[in-house]
Subunit: 367 residues, 2 copies
């Protein structure tokens, strides 16, 4: 694993942030690694570098350059959203869900955070020879339930099988198409100083649940993945604050910290976050402390981060809290003019520290 | 590998074909295997059974039930096509192409055979820890070239990494969206007795190229994969015979034989095929004989099978031959009223035999 150290000196952090803004503008980045490491799949800094240096460099086009969770395109006056995500979570089954509902909800959410109504999903399976058909049935049933709950149909699919030892049971790649029926245009670059940052519920539960499900830790906790389809919550929010929501993200790999850093870089703003206002359940906090991982770097699969105009703050918070998936929503930060591209965390102890994107890979195959 | 034997008695074949028609009507099929085998990924009979018994059973909806290469849906009066395919080909690089252009062309073709103009692609990568970044760059460059050639943009992507020994270098799952701008409605069920069957060029070259690239055979041949985007060829054909093309398929896994069996089952017709009229290059024929595999069961990645109204036969053939990708197109068969659901091959020797779908898996990871 190629771990880069987080900067201890704030000036280094500042330099890195400026580099990140510059990189975001120019989208010209160099990848120094010669081999793929687990960190390249962790959704943090190494993933960003790989995506920008290899894929963006090769495929360069205006839709991809936005590096949002989905591409929004227009055909015959109709705006559509299109997205894909691969799922390699291990174990395949865990408290609160399995790879099947994860694969449906994840793609539904990538569509939903553009403001789109998710319509159709495709599912490509890469199975390992010897995989139990009974497990596949269980995964398919779970996908079907998740699709029904999200109001989408799985309309296209594909199945490939690789030899024993060349895969790991079941990988799923879903893609999705949705339709944008609202006037709202959402985008990380639309955040501006004064906007408020909302999070829809307690963070890090999916990540910690997966780690505990692997049984490597001597912790027993009554935890379940937060995997859920967010399109209903998003609709409730957009109804309450039309034209006032700047951007939405579901905070998956890399966690809330990575999402907020991406927003700060895209908007060229700072973000001031209050640790005390970010809901974290006690067993999650305990597990994260034991692991030495910030819960803000942990993956969520049903948590929305919203940046909203200040005049809509209370309405937006109220709307989120009115929905079962947003009952614990919290106003946890503000967009600031300075320092550009940096997320500053006001800690429980009253101090302040730079909150960086996820570095390295403490959590392989979390989704 | 769970190989089922092809029936030696024509009456058995007839029974199986009737079962297949019945199954196609009812879409109610039982999967007896307890474990996934390579045959489930080969695109033949085992794949059909798995897809119908597990995925169709769980996800059942009118779009998926058609089991075409793509789903066609309508939103705001606009018809769109949506498809996905996974690529696990081994080796990743082979004469004539690599997993990258295969992944682009394959999805472009699945859109094209619905009559759609391919617009946007997504690409999900599942990489194995340790994979060479240089190889990934080469694959991305090849995808970019293929996308440019097909006139599509890769607008969404995702990267996951699995531990060494849990993957095999690089798997890619692409999805695609296209727009149907023509009046034509294509579908396997539209074939009717008297229609002609056309194939756009020499068959089995992709499959044999991959097998030779593995180096398991002591054959040297100047062969290359036929991987190519078929949207231009399809447009040329539809322009020449508007409203007269019944259905199109690209004959990938399972080969021309499997595609024709699917058409016969969906249409409830027979198909009479003349072996002598199916172009097969000499080294391909030699390799297939050595392997004991029918070239009609071998994968193609740039070969179109078209069923066309009899009055358009000459025009359609001329149109195909006018295009560089269809220069060797051939009229190789006819749709017949009887025997329902069966493909009968008139052999080189003047005999007649039932041409079944691909059984078992002689060709793992061909795409």
């Amino acid at each position: 694993m190629s771990r880069e150290r987080a900067p201890s000196d704030p000036r280094d952090a500042r330099l890195q942030a400026l580099e990140r803004i510059e990189r975001h503008k120019q989208r010209k980045v160099r990848l120094r690694d010669e081999r793929i490491t687990l960190a390249h799949g962790a959704g943090g800094k190494a993933t960003q570098t790989l995506v920008e240096a290899v894929f963006l460099e090769a495929f360069r086009n205006p839709l991809l350059e936005k590096l949002e969770d989905q591409a929004v395109f227009e055909t015959k006056g109709q705006r559509l959203a299109f997205t894909t995500d691969g799922y390699v979570v291990s174990p395949l089954f865990f408290p609160g869900g399995d790879i099947g509902d994860l694969a449906v909800n994840g793609t539904v959410n990538d569509l939903a955070v553009s403001g789109a109504r998710p319509l159709y999903l495709s599912a490509g399976f890469i199975l390992e020879e010897g995989f139990a058909v009974e497990d596949l049935r269980r995964i398919a049933a779970s996908m079907a339930r998740a699709a029904a709950a999200a109001g989408v149909s799985i309309v296209a699919g594909d199945t490939k099988v690789v030899e024993r030892g060349k895969g790991d049971g079941c990988f799923i790649t879903t893609a999705g198409v949705g339709v944008l029926e609202r006037e709202d245009t959402l985008g990380a670059e639309r955040a501006r100083p004064g906007d408020v940052v909302l999070v829809s519920g307690a963070v890090a539960e999916h990540g910690v649940t997966i780690l505990l499900a692997r049984g490597h830790l001597e912790i027993e906790a009554d935890l379940a993945s937060d995997t859920a389809p967010l399109h209903g919550l998003v609709a409730t929010l957009l109804d309450a604050a039309p034209g006032e929501v700047r951007c939405l993200r579901d905070a998956t790999r890399g966690g809330v910290a990575t999402v907020l850093n991406e927003i700060a870089a895209a908007a060229g703003t700072g973000i001031a976050l209050r640790e005390a206002d970010i809901p974290v359940r006690e067993p999650v906090r305990a597990a994260c402390e034991l692991l030495g991982i910030d819960p803000l770097h942990m993956a969520n699969e049903g948590r929305l981060v919203a940046v909203v105009a200040p005049e809509a703050a209370e309405r937006a918070l109220g709307a989120l809290r009115s929905h079962p998936l947003g009952a614990e929503a919290s106003l946890c930060g503000r967009v600031t003019a300075e320092p550009e591209g940096l997320v500053l965390l006001e800690t429980h102890f009253g101090g302040q520290r730079v909150l960086d994107v996820l570095i390295g890979d403490p959590l392989p195959r979390i989704c």
